[in-house]
């Protein structure tokens, strides 16, 4: 593999600038003549905007403009849209309520912008915002998904009667009913998947700069997918044609899905920049992040699983209510449908599955993809179900899983997905060995003697990553293709620039992508640089989410590399007067196999650009492009086991051990993979124990700061023991499956299964706060 090639734990190239404070984030950028935006946001969850009086604010020194929702609608800036069409079971399209970038008439969640102040400084804009008087007429609000579907509930959108976005189904209901009719045992489970606030370390920010002479916009934004942002801003929001809009996502401090979407603030900044004729900067604060970054999860589900007399699963039926918040965010519709219900087979042979998902509007912050996006909800449901079933059927939870594991691949599930490969027994074996599963009863008995409640919980997750191929996602309603592009530019001196449509906001692409080049050419990674996040530099790309950058983005780079190598071999063969078929690449040299004749890679590059002695008919230069569209999703899977103790006096959970055995296919940089798993596990454990975005019955957020919303901290988490079992993904040449979301997908169920094991009661909602656990222990 070489010290810097595939499989080497190379130290991250990008960390020098991050840990020395030299990163360049949107808020670090200052343009000449720049103004500052401050949004005026609704304090009400549901209200009519009767009037906005900005006369006092406009008289304040340093105020450039106060712009309102009515103006942005009058200027025909498009409404925000959801880009994945879902059809209800009755054949009707999803009901998308109109979402203007600032509300002209009606606000539907606390934090929705109604106007923006543009001023000479951030503080002046904020001062002036306090002088703007907005006259609201409060309307009844509803925040809870089960309350919103009741007759007589406050209605959000005229387009969506009953607050229903869609009522969508998947699977064969008749086959499921038949399975339940013959079932030896039926296990039932009701659960909620708690709403989370993503909380990337860097809040969202945008700078818009309109050049009147060129009629051209530049947008600096905290985006995970700048090309998608440009496409949507151009095609749907009428900001500017694509060639008149450059979108730059510089260093971005975390996304977790929340920075995939195009938000009102960057639309307003672009529009306002043209309006005031100066650059406009907006940097969100933490409160705005809590109020306006798309939240994650928020499901309420009833599920039933049928078993035969051999404890084999024969059927699964699921009904889920998914809270969308007040509007349909960019990919919101796909999350509780094609990213959730298609994974309900888990790691198990389930002959018949039927799921119904009802999307519901409420007066809360919009909900969209958040690390895992649908797959954590599916995994949590299935793995809580398996644990509940094991308890009801009185069998060992690990053994019940083995009884039902899929062992033959490829495997077609009844819910679209066709698993390509995997070895679920291997992962579970590795995890059980790592935690000494066999020794647990003795440890539990000893803990009991010491007055402690000890539990163990298993979670065997599977996910679908890559979010591709284009043809498949298109047939399911996606509004975009989901492939990736790459360009490999070899400079005349032999240094290499890799242009990628993936975007790194913490994932370490600047290191891992270079490792592929080092692996193939034998050049040091210091000779390679990664260019990303700028629509003027990279031709197109779909961005980074869904653990897709290595499986899809890196494969595109590989395809472009193969073209570069092919041309370089021709040049080398010509220079060495050898046959192209005899040229091999070793340690940065092109060699004639079996001889000592060789030419160094930089000399090949130079020859390509001097063009003094190229093969007849060959174009000069050494630069190639590739677009890669996979043939299937990838299917990372694994087993997590958690052992913990509960303090019966306080309900507090303390970890004893947490082991993870993941199958991610081939690893490029094991150290970076480990970091990704740690982060994912932290978020999965955070969901299980700590995090919950809560609204009161009137739609007022209760958790809009870190004083109330419990972000996981180092001392909340155990020291993880990680291992890998490997089956190579057959769907891409590198055999990569993806690792970015696994921890967040698999961890929650392991934790809740362990706590419920410890306390001997099965019903416990997330987050399992000490109060909740204590109450459950002592409930009659």
């Amino acid at each position: 593999m070489g010290v810097e090639g595939i499989g080497a734990s190379v130290v991250r190239k990008e960390d020098k600038r991050f840990i020395t404070g030299k990163g360049r984030y949107v808020d670090d950028i200052k343009l000449t003549g720049m103004t500052y935006a401050h949004f005026i946001r609704s304090p009400h969850a549901h209200a009519k905007v009767k009037g906005i009086d900005s006369s006092a604010a406009l008289k304040m020194p340093g105020v450039v403009a106060v712009l309102t929702g009515k103006q942005i609608v009058d200027d025909k800036v498009g409404n925000l849209i959801c880009g994945w069409a879902i059809t209800s079971k009755d054949g009707s399209p999803m009901k998308m309520g109109a979402w203007p970038a600032m509300a002209p008439e009606t606000v539907r969640f606390v934090g929705q912008a109604v106007a923006v102040v543009i001023a000479e400084s951030k503080n002046l804009a904020r001062d002036a915002a306090e002088a703007v008087v907005v006259d609201y007429e409060e309307l009844p609000a509803v925040a809870d998904v089960t309350a919103a579907i009741k007759a007589g509930a406050p209605q959000l959108h005229p387009e969506a009667p009953g607050n229903q976005v869609y009522d969508w189904v998947i699977g064969d209901e008749g086959a499921v009913d038949a399975a339940f009719a013959k079932a030896a045992n039926v296990v039932k489970l009701d659960l909620a998947n708690n709403r989370l606030a993503p909380n990337a370390m860097e809040p969202r920010a945008a700078i818009a700069d309109y050049d009147a002479a060129e009629e051209h916009f530049t947008l600096y934004t905290t985006s995970q997918n700048p090309h998608v942002a440009r496409l949507v801003l151009s095609a749907f929001y009428n900001i500017a044609p694509e060639h008149k809009l450059r979108v730059i996502a510089p260093d971005v401090g975390g996304g977790f899905g929340s920075k995939i979407f195009i938000y009102p603030e960057e639309m307003v900044a672009l529009w306002a920049s043209k309006k005031v004729g100066r650059p406009v900067k907006w940097t969100g604060d933490r409160t705005e992040a809590f109020l306006t970054d798309a939240h994650g999860r928020d499901h309420v589900t009833h599920a039933e699983m049928a078993f035969d007399t051999n404890n084999k699963i024969t059927g699964l039926k699921v009904k889920t209510y998914a809270n969308f918040g007040a509007y349909m965010s960019l990919f919101s519709s796909s999350v509780p449908t094609y990213l959730y219900a298609t994974l309900l087979s888990g790691q198990y042979n389930i002959p018949a599955i039927h799921a119904e998902v009802i999307g519901v509007y409420t007066n809360t912050t919009p909900v969209d993809a958040y690390r895992g996006a649908g797959r954590p909800e599916a995994s949590y449901l299935i793995e809580r179900m398996m644990e509940t079933a094991a308890r009801q059927l009185k069998v060992d939870p690990a053994a019940l899983r083995r009884t039902n594991f899929i062992t033959q691949f490829p495997h077609q599930t009844p819910v679209i997905m066709a698993y390509d490969t995997g070895d679920f027994n291997a992962s579970l074996d590795a995890a059980m060995k790592a935690i000494d599963y066999a020794g647990f009863p003795a440890r539990k008995a000893k803990a009991k003697a010491d007055g402690k409640l000890r539990g163990i919980g298993v979670s065997c997750y599977i996910e679908a990553c890559g979010i591709a191929p284009s043809k498949a996602v298109g047939s399911l309603g996606a509004g975009v293709g989901l492939w990736e592009s790459a360009e490999v530019r070899v400079n005349p001196v032999g240094t290499i620039e890799i242009l990628t449509g993936s975007h790194s906001h913490g994932q370490g692409h600047e290191t891992t992508f270079c490792q592929l080049v080092a692996d193939r050419l034998g050049v040091p990674i210091s000779q390679v640089s990664i260019v990303h996040g700028d629509t003027d530099k990279v031709q197109f790309g779909m961005g980074t989410y869904g653990s897709r950058s290595a499986a899809v983005g890196l494969t595109a780079i590989l395809k472009a590399m193969e073209k570069v190598e092919s041309k370089a071999k021709k040049i080398a063969a010509h220079a060495l007067e050898a046959s192209e078929a005899d040229i091999v690449i070793e340690n940065g040299e092109f060699k004639v196999t079996g001889t000592d004749k060789a030419i160094a890679f930089p000399m090949v590059a130079l020859a390509a650009y001097t063009a003094h002695n190229l093969p007849d008919g060959m174009e000069p230069g050494l630069k190639e492009t590739a677009f890669y569209d996979p043939t299937n999703f990838t299917f990372p899977a694994g087993a997590y086991i958690c052992e913990l103790e509960v303090d019966a006096g306080t309900g507090k959970t303390s970890f004893v051990n947490f082991v993870a055995a993941d199958d991610f296919g081939r690893l490029i940089n094991p150290m970076i993979v480990e970091g990704q798993v740690h982060g994912g596990l932290a978020q999965g454990i955070g969901q299980a124990l700590l995090e919950h975005a809560i609204y009161d019955a009137n739609g007022q957020p209760v958790t809009a700061s870190f004083m109330d919303y419990t972000m996981p901290r180092a001392d909340d988490l155990p020291s993880f023991k990680l291992s890998h079992t490997t089956t190579l993904c057959p769907g891409n040449p590198l055999g990569i499956k993806g690792c970015g979301e696994a921890g967040a997908i698999g961890a929650s169920a392991a934790v809740i299964n362990a706590i419920t094991d410890a306390i001997g009661k099965n019903n416990l909602e997330m987050p399992a706060t000490p109060d909740r656990v204590w109450r459950t222990i002592h409930a009659a």
Binding site: T287, G649, T650, F706, D708, Y709, T710, D771, W774
Partner: protein
């Protein structure tokens, strides 16, 4: 943050005189509450008078049966003070649990007591140990000092200069941290004075701020042991209730934390 005028006082007298001159002045005794509140524009003092650099207000001293902590002494200094650890280890331990390292380097005992947050740690120790709060005008007994949520006996412009803690025979503190803020969801300080009196104070639990817990005091007076509290019943009435802890959960924590504090006190 709104505009304000910052003053760095070099003496208590100067601070008091600056306060008198300001239209809506505030003392800054560490800024771990005032500054976040100002940044959120929830407070707009005309003048901010920093007490943190007044040399006479910094230091920890043990003398005879009294441990004196001057008002602008940061929590970190108390947590690591040899004098405090020797005289009242439970108090140094309490200081080590406040906030996080950044808070402990900046926050001060005087600031904590003047603010009297219902979930702050120091009020529990101050009340349970029967401390005396000295100001630039008078001395106030702990039993008279705490007057409800964010309310104290301090008059407008009055500056705490030091807090004197009688060294107890035994003392212990047990804190159940609020999961998000790390204030006390409930913290209980138990003390047995050298004359045999038992005083127990709970913070974070009551809607009225720090409180004595007479039922536990009586049980411990009869039998200084965690088991003595087993049969005590704490009413949830009047206790705080929020997303992190219902009132009956806090009532349970008062009892459980008291038991753990007694166990820690030995």
């Amino acid at each position: 943050m709104y505009q304000t005028t910052y003053h760095r006082a070099s003496s208590v007298d100067e601070a008091a005189s600056l306060f008198a001159k300001g239209s809506e002045a505030k003392f800054l005794a560490g800024g771990q509450t005032l500054l976040p509140v100002m940044k959120q524009r929830l407070a707009a003092p005309s003048d901010v008078i920093d007490l943190g650099k007044i040399k006479d207000l910094i230091g920890v001293e043990a003398s005879g049966d009294t441990l004196t902590i001057k008002a602008a002494t940061p929590h970190y200094d108390v947590a690591t003070s040899d004098a405090a650890k020797k005289a009242i280890p439970a108090l140094a331990y309490l200081a080590s649990l406040i906030g996080d390292p950044a808070v402990r380097y900046r926050g001060t005992i005087g600031g904590s007591l003047a603010n009297n947050d219902p979930a702050a740690d120091y009020p529990a120790a101050t009340l349970a140990l029967g401390a005396t709060i000295k100001t630039n005008k008078r001395t106030i007994a702990a039993d008279d000092y705490f007057q409800g949520l964010f309310a104290t006996a301090l008059e407008d412009g009055e500056i705490i200069t030091q807090v004197s803690f009688p060294v107890p025979a035994k003392a212990g503190y047990a804190k159940f941290p609020h999961p998000a803020s790390r204030f006390a969801l409930t913290g209980v300080f138990v003390a047995q004075t050298k004359s045999g009196e038992v005083r127990v104070a709970a913070t974070g639990a009551s809607q009225s701020g720090v409180m004595r817990v007479p039922a536990i005091e009586a049980a411990l007076k009869a039998n200084w042991s965690p088991a003595a509290i087993d049969s005590v019943s704490i009413s949830a009435s009047g206790l705080l209730s929020d997303i992190h802890g219902s009132s009956d959960y806090r009532a349970n924590l008062v009892k459980v934390m008291a038991q753990r504090a007694v166990a820690a006190a030995g």
